[in-house]
Amino acid sequence: MSHPDNHSPQSPPPDSWHRRTLEHKSALFAVATTLAISVGGLVEIVPLFTVSAGPQAMAEVTPYTPLEQAGRDIYAREGCVQCHSQMVRPFRAETLRYGEWSRAGEYSFDRPFLLGSRRIGPDLHRLGGKYPDVWHYEHMKDPRSTSPGSIMPSYPWLLEDKIDAADVQASMTALSVFGHYTQAEIDAAPQAIAKQGEEIVGRLRQSKVENIEADHEIVALIAYLQRLGTDGKKALKNQVAQSEGAETTGSAQ
């Protein structure tokens, strides 16, 4: 009876090159393995840091406002990305359903990226401006009130819990390392949050929603959702306008 503790794979050639060079020399084996697993990642990832191969920047794409950033943190906290993608693919069926397909340059200030991998619910990349603020309020309170048959959970606590401006400033300070914000913007964040929040609260009041204040979490989330994909749309519109302008100039000559 062969003893598996003791046995090697069947008939290893006694003078096997692999055995002599690698299996007998564990350090060399570890180095060879490290090299083997490094090549693919280096070839694929490093070029993205170059200007020519990396995502093409879009001038219209700017960092999120403090309130939107607070909303984005809530989006991350609640795990919205588990069910909603933010990446419209360049297919007719997708652009019909969602709008313009997503460009790489639109995500420049997405830390972390929130592309998602599963659409248990619809894609949200072109959600900004699609519905009025009150739709989002009602939808987060009870998804079935706006989308009958929806399997999404209700998020009533967003209507009660509040954001803390100091906490948003902490996020902005961390993100300022990557150039998202200046110190002046961080200092002015409480006022900016209040101003943008009041605008949303005002629109909610017009729709007979009276119980919401500017620092409720739902307001920050609405601010973020209404921003989604709008910079990109602006950029694409400008691109079209520029190319049309170029054509007009061309024909005039």
Binding site: A104, P112, M152
Partner: protein, 480 residues
């Protein structure tokens, strides 16, 4: 001296650490699968979200994936690695204190994950959701494990490294690199941080990590365990030494390239998407090399499948490995991915790997080890066979339900009517259609969960059993 050696049965090997990791594996396995069943129920019946922040799908899903990957699977790998590498290298682990720090450190990390994820503390990177202080703890514990691992190799009493050790080593090295790079972040508070990479670059780094966490946690070390435990259980030598060399190097080299197949049709440059697709397809060859080396090791032992639960679990595990490593490359082809991406097809694919390959392999290793570690026969062999059928039928129900639901939804999303408009413009119509399949999936998951509960009971009663059985001949002193 004689009395002492009689008391200490096998002082050469530290099997106490193996026992700890084994129990942790299946306890966390129950937790991870239970959360999975709750998630399946939530998708079929939304009120199961309970209206509480801590129990919504969005917060619980990372708990499920982290528990299954880092609690169930990783503890299972550590069980198999600590048991087999001592025997393959004919030496005790390098340092018992390191082994214990590894065990308790890892379990503390899991507990921290189980607390923070329902609280909504998440980096949002899939399978890298844990917040930065926990990531630091993972790095420290992992490095201590690596020291113990390479230390054991350094003091080995066998000159050559058996194929299982190659696969373990590829895990120890690669997971270190992936974990560190993908979690590079700037902390804002104790529980929140922002990654150094943004947008598409962050996405590519994450899927380089995400795909290779599958590759180097759920695949290569599992193959290493197959190379140790399958020949032992079948009492047959591994089919081909040459094949093991070729498929090992091909697998570890090729796997790393496949990450971009998670980002097809995204803003990632086309050349990167194409590289991801091509390498994913080529990956089929070394994957099937491993499958064939496993299945052909059983040549001449197929009759023992009838009576041996360990071999039953292994054969189904390896078959699912072959199935999902065929399915994966197919799904990486752009035209197929256009349909499958974002749908339940992906969920089905992941579970044929996780429930089929990983779960069934770990059950095989568990049933192999329990009688040997506790030196008594399994309490009830019939229950092990019942577990096997519960798990196998459960997986089939799960995977088939997800295929049907995934393809159904994918086709509904793209359906265009004669007027050139969307046939199902209301997204929720494509969701309602899936609910029956979500109930079937729940049924499959419940069967799988029942199976592991039966196993836990079997293990518990085996350990509680009083009569050590000499016939098992546990962990024989290795003969030179």
């Amino acid at each position: 001296m004689t009395a002492e050696s009689a008391v200490v049965a096998s002082p050469r090997y530290d099997d106490e650490i193996v026992k700890k990791f084994l129990l942790a594996t299946f306890i966390w396995g129950v937790v991870g699968m239970l959360v999975g069943v709750i998630l399946a129920l939530q998708l079929a019946w939304w009120p199961a979200n309970l209206g509480l922040p801590w129990t919504t799908f969005g917060r619980l899903r990372p708990l499920h994936t982290n528990a299954v990957i880092f609690a169930f699977t990783a503890n299972g790998l550590f069980t198999g690695i600590y048991y087999s590498m001592q025997r393959l290298l004919k030496t005790r682990m390098f340092n018992d204190t390191l082994s214990n720090i590894h065990f308790w450190g890892w379990q503390s990390i899991i507990v921290a994950a189980a607390i923070t994820l329902p609280l909504g503390m998440s980096q949002t990177h899939e399978y890298a959701e844990l917040i930065w202080p926990i990531d630091l703890a993972i790095a420290v514990v992992w490095v201590l494990f690596a020291v113990n691992f390479f230390g054991t190799i350094a003091v080995r009493k066998v000159k050559h490294l058996y194929v299982a050790i190659w696969f373990y080593m590829s895990m120890v090295i690669t997971i270190t690199v992936l974990h560190v790079v993908n979690n590079l972040a700037m902390p804002a508070t104790l529980t929140r941080s922002y990654p150094v990479f943004s947008g598409m670059t962050d996405a590519l780094v994450q899927w380089w990590y995400g795909h290779n966490a599958v590759g180097f946690l759920l695949t290569t070390p599992m193959l290493g365990m197959m190379y140790y435990f399958l020949p032992k259980a079948a009492d047959r030598p591994v089919y081909s030494y040459r094949l093991s060399i070729i498929h090992f190097w091909a697998l570890v080299f090729l796997y790393i390239w496949a990450g971009p197949h998670h980002l097809l049709y995204s803003g990632l440059p086309d050349w990167a998407q194409t590289l991801g697709m091509i390498f994913s397809i080529v990956l089929l060859a070394p994957s099937w090399g491993g499958m064939l080396n496993g299945l052909l090791t059983l040549r001449g032992a197929w009759d023992r499948l009838r009576s041996d639960a360990v071999l039953k679990f292994f054969v189904v595990a390896i078959t699912f490995y072959g199935m999902s490593t065929f399915e994966g490359p197919m799904m990486s082809i752009r035209a197929v991915n256009a349909l499958s991406h974002y749908t339940d097809w992906t969920i089905g694919h992941v579970h044929s790997g996780a429930l089929g390959w990983v779960g069934m392999s770990l059950f095989a290793v568990g049933y192999y080890l329990v009688p040997r570690l506790w030196k008594r026969p399994l309490h009830n062999e019939g229950w092990a066979t019942a577990h096997f059928w519960l798990a196998t039928i459960g997986i089939v129900l799960y995977v088939v339900a997800m295929w049907v639901s995934g393809i159904t939804q994918g086709l509904m999303w793209r359906a265009i009517d004669d007027a050139g408009q969307l046939q199902y413009p209301n997204f929720v119509d494509t969701v309602i259609k899936l609910v029956p399949f979500y109930w079937i999936r729940l049924g499959g998951g419940l069967m799988y969960l029942t199976g592991i509960l039966l196993m836990m009971l079997n293990i518990g009663l085996t350990i509680a059993g009083s009569s050590p059985n000499q016939a098992i001949n546990p962990s024989p002193a290795p003969a030179k």
